[in-house]
C-alpha cells in the first residue's frame, strides 16, 4: 500500500489557482523529486502537506489514514494539526534555524519539548541528546555541534536543518529547494547528505532545481507547471526523453544554461 496518497489537491489564493488537481502517491522508502519553474506550485504543494497551507480541495492520506479531506469541511483544532504535521518533516530553502540555539540545541529542541509535554523529559533527556549528536555526526557536523547558526556556512546550516527535521522521525521528509540559497560550491555538500539519505531509503519529497541530482536520486519524478502535474514517471525517462512540449521547453533551458 502507498505510504502517501495525494488526491486531487486544489489550492487557490483568491482568484489565483496555485494548485489544480494534483494527485500522486509514493511508497515507503521512495524518493520523489518535483521539478518545475518558479511559481509552478511546488512549494505550495509541500506547504499543504505540512499543513502550513490548507488546500481548497482534495485529500491527503498517510498509511491509509485520511489526514486531510477538503470535502469533509472540518476545522481542525491546533492539537489535531500538530499531530498530523508530525507525519511530515520540512527542510526550508532558507534553513530557518533558531539563531539563539546551537546546532545541537536546534536539533534537540522539538524532541525535548515533546518529551516535556509527555512528562518523560527526565528519562529521555540523555537519549534525545545522543540522538541529536548522532544525527549531526551523520551530517558530517561532529565538530560543529556547539556552534551557533551565524558561525556556520550556509551548507552547514542546511545540514543542521536536515538533522533537526530528522530528529522528529517523520514518515516523509520534504525538501523545499534545499540548495537554492547556497553558493554553488556549498550545494554539493548538501546534495551529498540528501543522496546518502536516499541510499538509506528515507522517504523523501525533494523540490529542486538540480536536474541531474533529481534524475540520479529520485525513484519518481514530477514536473509541475502552472499548478498542474504536466508529466511524471521514471526520472530518467522524464528528463532524458520528455513527452510533453512544456517539459521539453523547461528542460531545454536547463541543459542550455
Amino acid at each position: 500500500m502507498a505510504l502517501l496518497e495525494v488526491l486531487n489537491i486544489e489550492k487557490h489564493f483568491g482568484a489565483t489557482r496555485v494548485l489544480e488537481d494534483i494527485s500522486f502517491s509514493m511508497e515507503k522508502g521512495q524518493a520523489v523529486s518535483i521539478i518545475g519553474s518558479s511559481g509552478s506550485g511546488k512549494t505550495t504543494l509541500l506547504r499543504c502537506l505540512n499543513f502550513l497551507e490548507r488546500p481548497n480541495g482534495g485529500q491527503i492520506k498517510v498509511g491509509g489514514e485520511v489526514l486531510f479531506d477538503a470535502a469533509a469541511g472540518k476545522q481542525f483544532s491546533d492539537a489535531e494539526i500538530r499531530q498530523k504535521r508530525l507525519h511530515f518533516g520540512l527542510v526550508f530553502q532558507s534553513f530557518n534555524l533558531f539563531p539563539q540555539y546551537t546546532a545541537l540545541q536546534n536539533v534537540c529542541l522539538a524532541p525535548r519539548l515533546a518529551a516535556k509535554e509527555k512528562g518523560t523529559l527526565r528519562q529521555e533527556e540523555v537519549e534525545i541528546r545522543e540522538r541529536g549528536q548522532m544525527l549531526l555526526e551523520q551530517m558530517g557536523l561532529s565538530d560543529r555541534m556547539g556552534n551557533y547558526p551565524h558561525q556556520l556556512s550556509g551548507g552547514q546550516c542546511q545540514r543542521v536543518a536536515i538533522a533537526r527535521a530528522l530528529a522528529m522521525q517523520p514518515d516523509i521528509l520534504c525538501f523545499d529547494e534545499p540548495t537554492s540559497a547556497l553558493d554553488p560550491e556549498l550545494t554539493g555538500e548538501v546534495l551529498k547528505v540528501i543522496r546518502s539519505l536516499a541510499e538509506a531509503h528515507t522517504t523523501m519529497i525533494i523540490v529542486t532545481h538540480e536536474m541531474a541530482f533529481a534524475r540520479d536520486v529520485a525513484d519518481y519524478l514530477i514536473f509541475m507547471d502552472g499548478g498542474r502535474i504536466v508529466e511524471a514517471g521514471d526520472p530518467h525517462a522524464v528528463i532524458d526523453n520528455p513527452q510533453e512540449e512544456r517539459t521539453k521547453q523547461f528542460l531545454a533551458r536547463y541543459s542550455a544554461g
Binding site: L52, R82, P99, A110, A114, A165
Partner: protein, 218 residues
C-alpha cells in the same frame, strides 16, 4: 547644609525609585499582553486595545495623572484612592504603569512583527504549539531587537517620574523645590539633576551589558 540637602533629596529619590521600579514591574509584562491584544485576530479585542493605546499615547501623562487621581472622586463621588500619601502614590503608579505599558506594547509589537515568518513555521512543522514557538523561539529574538528602544523608554521613565508631584507624590524634584520656600535657596533643585544623571548613567551601563550578553547570536 549640603549634607542636610543631600539627605533630603535622597529621601525624595527613594520615592522616585520606588515609582520607577514598580512601574516597570507592572508595565513590562502588561505591555507584552497589550501587544498581544493589539495583534489579536479578534476585531473585538484588537480595536478596543488600539483605542486604548491611542488615547493613552495621545494625551499628556500629566493630564492622565490628574484624571486618574481626581476622576474617580468626581465621577463616582468616591475617592477610591483613599487619603494620604499612599493613595496618591497608588494613583500615580496606576497612571504610570498604564501609560508606559502602552508605549512598551508598541515596541513589543514592532519587535514581534519583525521576526521572520519562517521562524514560526520552522517551529510549527516540528510539531510545536503556538505557545512553545513564542516562548522558546520568538521571545528572545524579540528581546534582542527591542533592547535599544526599550532602554530609551526606561530612561525617559526615570525623568517622567517627576510628573507625579502634580498629585503631591513627594519625589525628588518636590524635595528640591521645598528648599526654595523653606530656606530661600534654589541650588538643591538644580542638584537633583545629579541624582537623575547618576542613575540614568547606571541604567545605560546595565543596558549595554544586556546588549553585550545577547550578542552571542545574530
Amino acid at each position: 547644609m549640603f549634607a542636610e540637602v543631600t539627605l533630603s533629596l535622597l529621601a525624595g529619590f527613594g520615592m522616585t525609585l520606588k515609582l520607577f521600579v514598580l512601574t516597570l514591574v507592572i508595565a513590562l509584562p502588561l505591555g507584552l499582553f497589550i501587544s498581544f491584544g493589539s495583534m489579536s485576530r479578534l476585531a473585538a479585542v484588537r480595536y478596543p486595545i488600539r483605542l486604548l493605546i491611542w488615547v493613552i499615547r495621545g494625551t499628556p501623562l500629566l493630564l492622565q495623572l490628574l484624571i486618574f487621581y481626581y476622576g474617580p472622586g468626581i465621577i463616582l463621588g468616591n475617592n477610591i484612592w483613599g487619603s494620604g500619601d499612599e493613595g496618591r502614590f497608588a494613583a500615580a503608579l496606576v497612571a504610570f504603569a498604564l501609560n508606559y505599558s502602552c508605549y512598551f506594547s508598541e515596541i513589543f509589537r514592532g519587535g514581534i512583527q519583525s521576526i521572520p515568518k519562517g521562524q514560526y513555521e520552522a517551529g510549527y512543522v516540528l510539531g510545536m504549539t503556538r505557545g512553545q514557538v513564542f516562548w522558546q523561539i520568538i521571545l528572545l529574538q524579540v528581546i534582542k531587537r527591542i533592547v535599544p528602544p526599550i532602554s530609551n523608554e526606561i530612561i525617559t521613565l526615570v525623568k517622567d517620574t517627576s510628573l507625579a508631584r502634580v498629585i503631591a507624590v513627594y519625589e525628588i524634584i518636590w524635595s528640591g523645590q521645598a528648599f526654595i520656600k523653606s530656606a530661600g535657596i534654589i541650588w538643591p533643585l538644580f542638584y537633583t539633576g545629579v541624582f537623575y544623571l547618576v542613575f540614568s548613567g547606571l541604567l545605560t551601563v546595565l543596558f549595554h551589558m544586556i546588549e553585550k550578553k545577547l550578542d552571542y547570536f545574530k
